[in-house]
């Protein structure tokens, strides 16, 4: 079972490495959106510092949504998904492995470059840490919730639009709490409460979302 999960993760990473343009699109989108804000708003340090957490979070959210459609689509099209359903490993665990691989490909790079991008907003070092940490806890939640939406809209026409409509309302709490962490830290309150809340949401989503996505996949494939 462990071998099957490792195999799924390694396979998805290998596929991403051989088709790196998909990964780059997401990262470039994130970099471009975040970099455009200081140019558009103007060089007012105080204003930039205020909007920084929100801008980075919104950009990360949109970037991760950009990659969502691909979580299951290719496997569905070529029949691999059917084989996963008929495999020896429970589908929920396979989905969890796929979501984890998806996050490594499309979420982790955003977390890693976020401190560099945040420098454009004149954030203090401590805030950079809080922001990156909130993204590190928050982007996996986005991937997990997004996987349910991707599974539900699998194989539908206009799946992209429907997926955004389905998933966005569920993303809002993550966005509010995630961006709130850095804002609270900036105001001197400390972002611990928000980070703990994000951690709790991550555990909850990690435990339940893969099974919900697996159930949705079984319906989609019928």
């Amino acid at each position: 079972m462990i071998a099957a999960l490792r195999c799924v993760i390694v396979r998805d990473l290998r596929l991403a490495a051989r088709r790196s343009s998909d990964v780059l699109t997401v990262v470039l989108f994130f970099v471009i959106v975040v970099s455009l804000f200081p140019l558009g708003i103007g060089p007012e340090p105080k204003l930039l510092r205020t909007v920084a957490p929100g801008v980075l979070w919104v950009a990360a959210l949109l970037a991760s949504m950009l990659a969502l459609g691909r979580v299951f689509a290719a496997d569905h099209a070529d029949g691999t998904l059917e084989q996963m359903m008929l495999g020896a490993t429970p589908l929920g665990l396979v989905v969890a492995a796929k979501v984890f691989a998806h996050w490594l490909i499309s979420g982790l790079p955003l977390v890693l470059i976020s401190p560099v991008l945040a420098l454009q907003f004149d954030l203090s070092q401590e805030l950079l840490g809080v922001l990156a940490l909130s993204l590190a806890l928050g982007t996996p939640i986005l991937s997990l919730i997004g996987a349910i939406g991707a599974a539900l809209t699998l194989g539908l026409r206009g799946a992209g639009t429907l997926l955004s409509l389905l998933v966005l309302p569920l993303y809002v709490p993550v966005l509010v709490i995630g961006a709130g962490a850095a804002e609270a830290a900036a105001s001197g309150l400390g972002g611990h409460a928000q980070l703990l809340l994000l951690g709790a949401m991550l555990i909850f989503a990690g435990a339940f979302a893969p099974w919900a996505a697996a159930a949705a996949l079984r319906i989609s494939v019928e």
């Binding site: 071998a3 099957a4 195999c7 799924v8 396979r11 290998r14 596929l15 051989r18 088709r19 290719a74 099209a77 070529d78 029949g79 691999t80 059917e82 084989q83 996963m84 359903m85 008929l86 495999g87 020896a88 490993t89 429970p90 396979v94 494939v221 019928e222």
Partner: protein
Amino acid sequence: METTLEAVDLRCARGERTLFDGLSFTLKGGELLRIGGPNGSGKTSLLRIACGLLEADRGEVRWGGEDIRRLKEEFWVRLLYIGHANALKDDLTASENLSVACTLAGVVADELQIGEALVRLGLAGRANLPARVLSQGQRRRVALARLALGADAPLWVLDEPFTALDTAAIDCVQGLIGGHVSRGGGVLYTTHYEASIGAAVSRRIDLAGT
């Protein structure tokens, strides 16, 4: 070990059309069962129901007397299903594809066995080519190479295994199927090709297609 697949009073409708109704069959170990019928008569749907991918509108499929929708993974480890789609990734090589397919199915196969299976299907020297550059027939061969490693699964369900294959490959696949049946495995398959597979018990169900 009980290795009987039983379909009881199955009904499947697609939209307004009833594909089949009241269909029952039993497939014991060592038997070969071919599903025939014209295009669109519900052969693939029947196979998908037998695997548990699709829910029948009525009736149930049992493995060793138990409903497969309750057995789930317990049934699926004993099943080798090869559908219409080859389940190959264009960017992975033939041997990587086969290795992933085996691992997902819970079959342990080392690199040597993977290589042997590919050679057996006539893919010697193609193992390290990405699936993207293989022809349709070669891609089908990679998918079917699982049969050479699937001796442990007592039930094979094959959807049109002979499509896109040349005569040499068809002979090879027929040999694999015949070997499996003689080992005591059950094979449920569809084909339009008049296959000649040596089996002690070989039956055929024809779906009418209304």
